[in-house]
Symmetry: C2
Subunit: 522 residues, 2 copies
């Protein structure tokens, strides 16, 4: 498909669909309510217990013998006081200390956003999905090419994130709003997030001002005192190590500030096997665990009991070109192994819904499916980037967002115990007796009583036969998704927010803009 | 994407790619060898042991109290002699008899094709993939619309089936060659299959002549005496029940003929919940099991120890339109539950790689992925239709075939124990020590020793960044697949066959054509 063709068909067909739906007054998407999805599947565990011990031992040896660089004097000071061995920026910690401090992290906790009905509980056997976060670029069928993110695209993708009930939490910026000046970008962007979404949200660890402003804005939006804000997690941050074996200054600064105030902490090493990590998958996982546990140790030294999660982003590169790959067989196994290790350390886990594909085609879906199943199989608690990600995270796409939400809503249904019910009514021997060998089940009471809720009803899948599909315009999946995207934007209503709180929030943003926002010199 | 656009871009781009590859003398696909894939993942089991007993009890009640219709007097006679209760065509069997006869079926067996290196072993914890079978229609990017199957398309898809090592067995006709007269179609089609493929193959149970001719041709191609042919399975058939609760004449005829000669037998009820089966998934599974076990009982009555497998095709319909759906959440759970029950009865299992999508787009891949993971999670032995299926089995597509084979080759890699190796060398503590916090892993010996085989190298996935992908023509997945399809056809070489055997086979086909082939009056 060329760009020009994409644009043409996207416009014409998408427009037709929207027009029809609008005339009929239909909702863009009929969806199940926001629920905490219990992951009912036993995890897939590639390692035997003694192999788990081997991975643990290697991880501890990295922390004891090689050490992690902490490029932040305050962090080094805290770790030294906690009993670590410090040489300049290199910090080594013996396994007894690591296990003692990691043991102080809770094995479960909650994050409560401004809408308490959207509270997420981590470490409780649930699986939560979040929107794509942090791509610098945007792509949609109408534009037909990769363009820099803007506040308009950012807000549109936020609307999708709020609209879909199967998106449980609101990650980082769903696309970078690069038309906002970096000095004030965090103020406008977090403001937009708090107005357009009431879901548990992420604040970037990118320097003192951004972190403190983010926490203050979440506190105001939640209508809390400072004491209430610090009493339990109301938001979360994510830091990435600078692999190999290094944590950078601003990330550590945000990490410690959030830890001190009891907010939720996720550390996700970006360990690409063969590039920033060993070419062997278990080696890359060991490095990821060492980098992650070192940050957990720091958080516990700052505030014992600080709520921590370990993230995984271990994948491999194309060894011919060095390009990162996602949703590969090696990615799946690394994710499953990390899940085994997260349970070993008693920490909740984050993974991702990711792909390397550049457009929302077949490849994008098989890669994303593989990362999604790895998340389910690993016992992942939070699935970042579960909707809308393309090009290894460099592109956010609304069509991909819609396609992913269809899949996620199928996973929600897949996890419902009703699907596997074996009550007498479900086993249906009497229904079979009634129908016998020459009838059909469409018309009988057993079917009539159940047919409206018996099966997942997709909003994007097209189940028409070929001839009917052709007569309806022969519309491929991404073009159908584009139409739904536009319809959702037309329908969108922001979640309610108390007027006094909205005014306080706006006043805070104005004040901080007047003060100059955040410095941009790092 | 409109049809005309599809055709244009498919032709131009595909041609360019083929041309370049041909000039450089490249193979279309670099692939791993044909291997038996061990399924290393513990099955996903939605039912608790007592729930398995409930499903079993309901299944037995259907067989005891409602019965199955066998529209074949010979089958009824055999079952009556075996101890079943017969009223006309209705056959009831009590659970003791069912379990006794099902217990005579082996829990594992092999099927050995004319190339003994392609022997498949069922019931041994392996997972095997087969090509799409039986669609009446064909679709490719160049034609851009649905057209009836022909012998040319049939042969082209057979070449793909033989070419890909990740296709372990050769199912029914990959598309129906409707330009061959039904009287002689089976002779030419089975002849083509035996010439173009050396993999374990299926023969349709569609009347005495077709079944007997199929067995005789396989016997000749394998160079076997009649006694050798009957000593162990050399081929297999599949029958579908006429749900609800009925087996049809020609299918039963083929089933008994193959059973008598010790060939492998697969029975796959087509139980669409809400249409030919109860609207509840466990009810639909119960009906499927009852229909399948009734056929297994018949096979064991014909020849104790006949190698049998139960298949599942339980899915749901769109309750708004009655259209069948595939790869749904309900389909996945039904497949997993059937896997639990297959283990309970000690029988190998067949499931499928299926979708409802009409074209090889994102929907086709998420639906096929769901059915593929259900196959893995259920402990399926044979995955029918694992490559090339569209429109609920009404269309065979070479682009979908290529896309599916990319995914299957990733699954092959996923199951290799090397991915999860935790030897000291893989844990790589010394490599991390060597690189330290400021280096990278590209250049070190640990990487150099392993990089060529460290990761799955896809043949279809495009891992280039957006700009490089755009510069290379911005080619979406199905168009890339089309180019590979054409290149494989150019490269294809038929597997070797002894000249004397080839002559004997051709003489048999000629003789049977002279005799008039098969009657076409049923």
């Amino acid at each position: 498909m060329t760009q020009s063709e994409t644009v043409t068909t996207g416009r014409r067909r998408g427009g037709g669909r929207r027009g029809t739906a609008a005339r009929r007054g239909l909702q863009a998407v009929e969806q199940a309510p926001w629920v905490k999805i219990k992951n009912r599947d036993r995890p897939t565990e590639p390692l035997r217990p003694e192999e788990v011990e081997r991975v643990h031992d290697a991880t501890m040896r990295v922390l004891e013998e090689i050490g992690i660089e902490f490029l932040n004097p305050e962090a080094v000071k805290v770790l030294k006081e906690a009993g670590c061995e410090v040489r300049g920026e290199n910090v080594r910690m013996d396994r007894e200390l690591v296990m003692e401090l990691v043991g102080k992290a809770p094995d479960s906790f909650t994050v409560t956003p401004r809408n308490p009905d959207r509270q997420i509980s981590l470490g409780t056997g649930h699986i939560y999905f979040g929107n794509v976060s942090s791509p610098p670029n945007y792509w949609d069928m109408e534009i037909g090419r990769k363009v820099p993110g803007t506040r308009e695209f950012f807000r549109n993708l936020l609307k999708l994130s709020q609209y879909f009930n199967v998106i449980h939490f609101c990650g980082g910026y769903p696309v970078e709003p690069v038309d906002l000046h970096p000095r004030v970008r965090h103020l406008d962007a977090v403001h937009d997030k708090l107005l357009l979404s009431d879901k548990a949200m992420h604040v970037y660890s990118l320097g003192k001002e951004r972190v403190e402003d983010g926490m203050e804005m979440v506190r105001i939006a939640n209508g809390l005192s400072h004491e209430e804000f610090e009493a339990s997690p109301r938001m979360y941050t994510n830091i990435n190590s600078t692999s190999p074996l290094k944590h950078d200054h601003p990330m550590l600064d945000g990490w410690m500030r959030m830890a001190a105030r009891g907010q939720a902490l996720v550390v996700t090493p970006f360990t690409l096997a063969g590039a920033m990590a060993p070419v062997t998958m278990s080696g890359a996982v060991v490095q990821s665990l060492a980098e992650a546990l070192a940050a957990v140790v720091l958080a516990q030294a700052v505030r014992p009991g600080a709520p921590c999660m370990i993230g995984t982003f271990t994948s491999n590169v194309d060894m011919k070109t060095g390009a990162p790959a996602f949703g590969t067989p090696e990615y799946m196994r690394a994710t499953q192994i990390t899940g085994q290790m997260a349970r070993f350390y008693g920490l909740p886990m984050r993974s991702s819904g990711v792909c390397a594909a550049n457009v929302p085609d077949g490849q994008s879906m098989w890669e994303t499916e593989h990362s999604l199943w790895a998340a389910i199989q690993s016992g992942t608690d939070m699935v970042y980037h579960a909707a809308g990600w393309l090009e290894g995270g460099l592109i956010a796409s609304p069509e991909k967002f819609i396609m992913d939400c269809e899949v996620l809503s199928q996973i929600q249904r897949y996890m419902e115990p009703e699907v596997c019910d074996v009550s007498d009514d479900s086993l249906a021997v009497e229904a079979m007796r009634e129908v016998g060998p020459n009838g059909h089940f469409f018309g009988i009471q057993h079917t009539q009583d159940r047919y409206e809720t018996a099966f997942h009803q997709p909003f994007l899948s097209d189940w028409k036969n070929y001839e009917a599909w052709e007569a309806a315009g022969a519309i491929w999946t991404p073009e159908r998704a584009h139409g739904i995207y536009k319809q959702i934007l037309n329908e969108f209503e922001a979640p309610p927010l108390d007027v006094a709180i909205a005014e306080e929030l706006a006043a805070f943003v104005d004040k901080r803009k007047e003060e100059g926002g955040a410095p941009t010199d790092f």
